[in-house]
């Protein structure tokens, strides 16, 4: 079976300077991949490279067996990718519903936008309660949900999520991770980059990113204290230095 999303030997960065190198990822339609790593490890750059939002120097990105080389972000959305970005990037002066609708503009789903809205409101009832509120006036957790919901509006095959836990209180972090788990359960492949390794509770596979390269791959079954130690070493160093 063709992988839903396949990344091979990716070298990417900004302004001619590579940030990540030799990234290899295989995402099946039923994968929930968690990419964990410290700040500056290259997590965001990886996702932006997949979305065509930064410079790709080497390597390939394929979606459903089709190469995305040179494709614009709008084409990638059309092909079935969607990104829930770091810092949410909602449209502050648009209402919640308008924000969600922007997620459907570039994809194939403009005709079916009413259905898509219903789906998102069912998954994220909080947004339904706030549909006429300006997004800029919502709390951080609500904006995070809105960003997830907006990404779902194009009915993506693979959902890319960038640090959904950022700046959220622990209870809200768990809530957002649960939402990602239910999106995964409904049949969408998920790639979530995270600093918070609690994501491993809902992922099927974990990749540790260090200094721009993949340092470890851990299948979900083997996640245990080992991941905690690995992440601790990756974030804090060994302690002997």
């Amino acid at each position: 079976m063709t992988a839903a999303l396949s990344v091979r030997g990716l070298v990417a960065g900004y302004g001619g300077v590579p940030v990540v190198r030799d990234i290899v990822l295989d995402i099946e339609p039923d994968t929930f991949l968690a990419v964990v790593g410290a700040n500056g490890a290259g997590k965001t750059t990886t996702l932006r490279a997949i979305m065509g939002l930064c410079d790709v120097f080497e390597g390939t990105v394929e979606l459903g067996g089709k190469s995305l080389a040179g494709a614009r972000t709008s084409d990638r959305v059309l092909a079935g990718l969607a990104l829930c970005p770091e810092g949410r990037q909602v449209f502050p002066s648009l209402t919640v519903e308008e924000n969600l609708l922007t997620g459907a503009i570039a994809g194939q789903g403009w005709g079916g936008r009413a259905d898509a809205l219903d789906r998102v409101y069912e998954l994220l009832p909080r947004l339904g309660e706030r549909r006429t509120q300006a997004a800029g006036t919502m709390s951080g957790g609500e904006q995070q949900q809105l960003a997830v919901g907006r990404a779902l509006m194009s009915d993506p095959r693979v959902l890319l999520v960038d640090e959904a836990s950022l700046g959220l209180a622990p209870v809200m972090v768990d809530h957002v991770f649960e939402i990602l788990a239910s999106i995964h359960a409904s049949g969408t492949a998920v790639v979530a980059v995270e600093q918070n390794i609690r994501i491993s509770a809902v992922a099927t596979e974990i990749v540790v990113l260090e200094q721009g390269a993949i340092s470890q791959r851990i299948p979900a079954g083997e996640v245990g204290h080992g991941l905690h130690e690995a992440a601790r070493a990756a974030y804090f160093g060994t302690g002997d230095s």
Binding site: G13, G15, V17, P18, V19, R21, A38, N39, G40, G42, M51, T73, S74, R76, V77, L78, A82, L83, P85, Q89, V90, F91, P92, L94, E98, L101, T102, I105, A106, G136, R150, A151, S154, E163, S165, L166, G167, P170, V173, D174, F177, E178, Q195, N196, I197, R198, I199, S200, A201, Q211, G212, V223, H225, H228, R232, Y235, F236, G237, G239, S241
Partner: protein
């Protein structure tokens, strides 16, 4: 009362045109951040096309109007395609729209029949409401404008493209992420703006019954004022703004009818008041970011700050010998030509001087003036009034021009402290219009329209009435100004201005205060424009109001950008070239200007730094290449090791006080109970920290923990809601960032603590500005011997720092072109060059790996060991902080989570949890 009502109705009809233009301006600005000077030109072109079709081919009016609107939309879209999506910031597209305005105006004059009738399609006696007669034309105008507004509103609210446009205007990065193509959005916005402009042109034509080439250029300030009333972001605000401006203008005509230019004055006053007191507009709530997005420096430039020491090859070529060559050349040229030719040629230095004055303003302050023709006029009238009306001696009269223009420019400079960027450009545009329409036609200036005469004097043996002698004098004046400008590039005053222009935050952090320098930059430019004006007055022998139009201001901008902002030679050459064409080829003048305008439009995207930029690029190629590995920087694997740890950077006392727990430990830098709230969010909550002399303290915490906010409070960029900061035994909460730097508290930035268009050497010079900078004018312009000595020392320190950092190759390269790792290292160098007692380092190793991040660790240790600097460092690289710090603080959600020795703190469960989240096997609230 009835009369007033009538004028209100007239005002609403006129205001409809402004509202449509303002809608287009707002749309374009929201999506592209460009000030579209050609907005009115889209309309005039549409009106001419409609008139040609209706009259030439006998098509019915509605169809002709539709065709005109289609042309407007197409030209709008074409403008976006040609001008946008290129490098170079927002000035090139602005200049491009000036070019398009000129091109369209010329096409109308030459190929579309020039001034012609524009009959209104409706006739009749009108309707009388409450004693006020409303003519059918006015009804039609208001109805069409209202319909267009309604249609636009519906399209934006209800359609896919409308939603995309609103999203793009609201958050461009967000729009990119959801897959909206920024280019397509821009083309859509510009074509809608073109259509709106086209309607405005047709409506305006119906109102006046006739159209002249470029007839909407004169109402640009009104349209901008309308858009500004809505804060440049609000569409309903733009409509309301248009109506308010229209009615205000109309009522001014009623109550102050006799005075020409009074409506323009009222518009200017309204605009000035709004910009100064409520720049976010009257109808919008202040929104962080967006409303002020145009307010940064407008220009991206060639390096401008020069080494204060003579010696480089280039400096010698253009150096002391330059003026001598210039003097000889002026005398030779003046001797060779005489009579009419000499008279003609004397215009060249005048306009070169004028262009240099605008060039100085733009390159020193980063601000753009669209009203420089007004300052030029003030200079000319000032000289004429002082010489002829007041009968002052000619030399004093000559100096009155620059004095008057300099004073007026200083007022604009004072305004620039509150209003910057595009907003200031609009204010200067209105300033120029008011001078031309209201001030210059008054009796004092124009003697009832006849103009002021002025005659050239005899100066000793030289009779300036002779055109050859006068030409030589003009040439000498240009040489003197040239030498002064050249000198200015080597003194602290200009360094301070450039520092503010490039990066105001970094300037404050290095101890540079914006207030005086901002006013001085404008004043100097005004004096230069006034000098040009004075000379012009003596050249012409008569000064009349009509020769200082807005069009001249716009032409100057084209010249300066074509010549290359910051490049004296390029700007002077372009100004001289165009002036010569104007003098000797005026028969085909229009065609040449058209070609020039189109050349600007096409070239400006490719070479945003103009002729000077192209020349500089050529010279750059002959400079030494960076050391191997410097330009290519792979995530750490083969990073260029930038030399050893810093050696002593300056002759600072070697006070090495290692922390000693037994001894009494005074506090060098302390914070008590700091709390910072952003809206409802608490960014920092009751934070207390102490830094002892000679310590290295690390501050850790996950993203959003409040680390950088803490630095911003300590260094004075954010005022805390509660709490106090102490430094060297004194509360410093009342000190500005610059004041804190001068007291010895330095800081670096995560990114953006540098001045990217200046060279590495100039960056280090600018970083030292706050150190022992003199306060007198002589100090600032570097004339006092003591200051000269200090300046040479600063340059030597800069050399030494570059040497220590291993960045010697970058001394003459713009910092923006250096590899990322080298910029980070230079950033530390700049912070150290302020010679602080305590230094706040904000993520000095962010984005660095391997050898470079190890270099940063060694450098931090060396700062204390060699220079006795106390260091507080924020880093995400925990191993780095662990290895260099004596003590660390860990923040989470703005609160202090832990404090102590690195190994102890990093072993605590709550610290690990803050980074990694709660342990997966711990009983979480909901996760299964």
């Amino acid at each position: 009362m009835e009369e007033a009502l009538t004028f209100v109705v007239v005002g609403i009809a006129g205001g409809s045109t402004y509202a449509l233009l303002a809608l287009g301006l707002v749309l374009v600005h929201s999506v592209s951040r460009v000030l579209n000077v050609a907005q009115g030109a889209f309309g005039t072109l549409a009106a001419f096309v409609a008139a040609s079709i209706a009259m030439g081919h006998g098509l019915p009016w509605p169809m002709a109007v539709v065709a005109g609107v289609a042309v407007g939309a197409a030209v709008g879209a074409a403008t976006a395609l040609v001008l946008l999506g290129r490098e170079g910031g927002i000035l090139p597209p602005l200049v491009g729209t000036v070019g398009i305005l000129s091109a369209i105006t010329l096409i109308e004059a030459r190929w579309l029949g020039g001034t012609r009738e524009f009959p209104t399609p409706v006739s009749g006696h009108g309707v009388e409401v409450a004693g006020v007669v409303i003519t059918p034309t006015r009804m039609l105008v208001v109805a069409v404008a209202a319909a267009a507004g309604l249609f636009l509103w519906l399209a934006l609210e209800r359609t896919r493209i409308g939603l995309a446009l609103r999203a793009g205007a609201d958050n461009r990065e967000g729009a990119r992420i959801v897959g909206l193509d920024p280019r397509r959005l821009e083309v859509a916005a510009w074509s809608v703006a073109g259509a709106l402009g086209a309607l405005a042109g047709v409506l305006s034509g119906w109102t006046t019954q006739s159209i002249t080439p470029g007839f909407l250029t004169g109402v640009l300030p009104q349209a901008f004022a309308a858009a500004m009333l809505g804060g440049m972001v609000s569409l309903p605000g733009a409509i309301l703004g248009g109506l308010v401006v229209g009615v205000a203008e109309s009522l001014t005509r009623l109550y102050w009818g006799g005075t020409p230019g009074s409506p323009e004055l009222v518009v200017f006053l309204v605009l000035g008041a709004v910009l100064l007191f409520r720049p976010q507009g009257l109808f919008t709530r202040a929104r962080r970011g967006l409303a002020f997005e145009g307010s940064e420096s407008l220009v991206r430039l060639l390096p401008m700050v020069r080494d204060p020491r003579p010696g480089s090859m280039l400096a010698r070529v253009a150096g002391p010998g330059g003026p001598v060559v210039g003097v000889v050349a002026s005398i030779a040229i003046a001797g060779a030509v005489s009579g009419p030719d000499a008279f003609k040629l004397s215009a060249v230095p005048v306009y070169a001087l004028l262009a240099l004055s605008l060039n100085f303003l733009a390159s020193a302050t980063g601000q753009l003036s669209l009203g420089h023709a007004g300052l030029f006029g003030l200079g000319a009238f000032g000289a004429a009034i002082a010489t002829t009306s007041w009968e002052l001696p000619p030399v004093l009269g000559f100096l009155a021009g620059p004095a008057l223009a300099g004073a007026a420019a200083a007022v604009l400079g004072a305004a620039s402290l509150r209003v910057r960027g595009l907003y200031l450009a609009v204010l200067t545009l209105a300033f120029g219009v008011v001078l031309q329409a209201f001030v210059f036609p008054t009796d004092t200036f124009s003697q009832g329209g006849a103009g002021l005469t002025i005659s050239r004097p005899e100066l000793g043996p030289f009779d300036l009435a002779d055109d050859g002698t006068f030409l030589a004098a003009c040439g000498l004046l240009l040489v003197v100004v040239w030498a002064v400008l050249r000198r200015l590039e080597r003194v602290p005053l200009l360094r301070g201005m450039v520092a503010i222009r490039e990066n105001q935050t970094a300037a404050s952090a290095r101890g540079i205060d914006a207030t005086r320098l901002g006013v001085a930059g404008f004043a100097i430019s005004g004096v230069l424009a006034g000098l040009a004006g004075s000379t012009y007055a003596f050249r012409q022998g008569i000064v009349v109001a009509s020769v200082f139009p807005v069009q001249l201001s716009l032409t100057l901008v084209i010249w300066v950008v074509l010549g290359g902002l910051g490049s004296r030679a390029g700007v002077a050459a372009v100004a001289a070239g165009f002036t010569l064409i104007d003098l000797y080829a005026s028969g085909s003048n229009q065609l040449i200007t058209l070609i020039a305008a189109l050349a600007v439009v096409l070239l400006i995207g490719r070479q945003p730094l103009g002729a000077g930029g192209a020349l500089r690029t050529l010279l750059e190629r002959r400079r030494p290449a960076p050391p191997p590995g410097a330009a290519r920087e792979q995530g750490g694997s083969e990073a260029a090791a930038p030399g050893p740890a810093p050696a002593p950077v300056a002759a600072a006392p070697l006070v090495v006080r290692m922390p000693d727990r037994e001894a009494l430990r005074p506090v060098l830098l302390g914070a008590r109970d700091l709390t910072v709230r952003f809206g409802g969010n608490v960014a920092i909550d009751s934070l207390t920290l102490d830094v002892h002399p000679g310590e290295i303290v690390g501050i850790l915490g996950p993203n959003g923990a409040g680390k950088t906010t803490t630095f911003n409070v300590l260094s004075g960029f954010i005022t805390p809601s509660r709490g106090e900061v102490w430094f060297r035994g004194r509360a410093i909460s009342a000190l500005s960032p610059a004041g804190r730097t001068r007291r010895g508290l330095g800081r670096s930035f995560q990114q953006g603590g540098l001045w990217p268009s200046e060279t590495a050497h100039a960056n280090l010079l600018m970083a030292q500005y706050g150190r022992a900078a003199g306060t007198s004018f002589g100090d600032a312009v570097g004339m006092s011997p003591d200051q000269l000595r200090r300046d040479r020392r600063r340059a030597a320190v800069a050399d030494e720092v570059l040497e220590v950092l291993g960045l010697g190759y970058a001394a003459r390269r713009p910092v923006g072109t250096l590899p990322y790792g080298h910029r980070k290292i230079l950033e530390i160098g700049c912070a150290v060059a302020t010679r602080p007692q305590a230094l706040l380092l904000d993520e000095p190793a962010a984005g660095l790996h391997g050898a470079q991040s190890e270099w940063v660790a060694r450098a931090i240790a060396a700062l204390r060991r060699e220079l006795g600097i106390t260091v507080v460092v924020i880093e995400h690289d925990v191993p780095l902080v662990r290895s260099v710090s004596d003590r660390i603080y860990v923040l989470d959600f703005g609160r202090l989570l832990a404090e102590g020795r690195p190994d102890d703190v990093l072993a605590r469960p709550e610290v690990i949890e803050a980074y990694l989240g709660q342990p997966v096997n711990a009983p979480g609230p909901v996760l299964s």
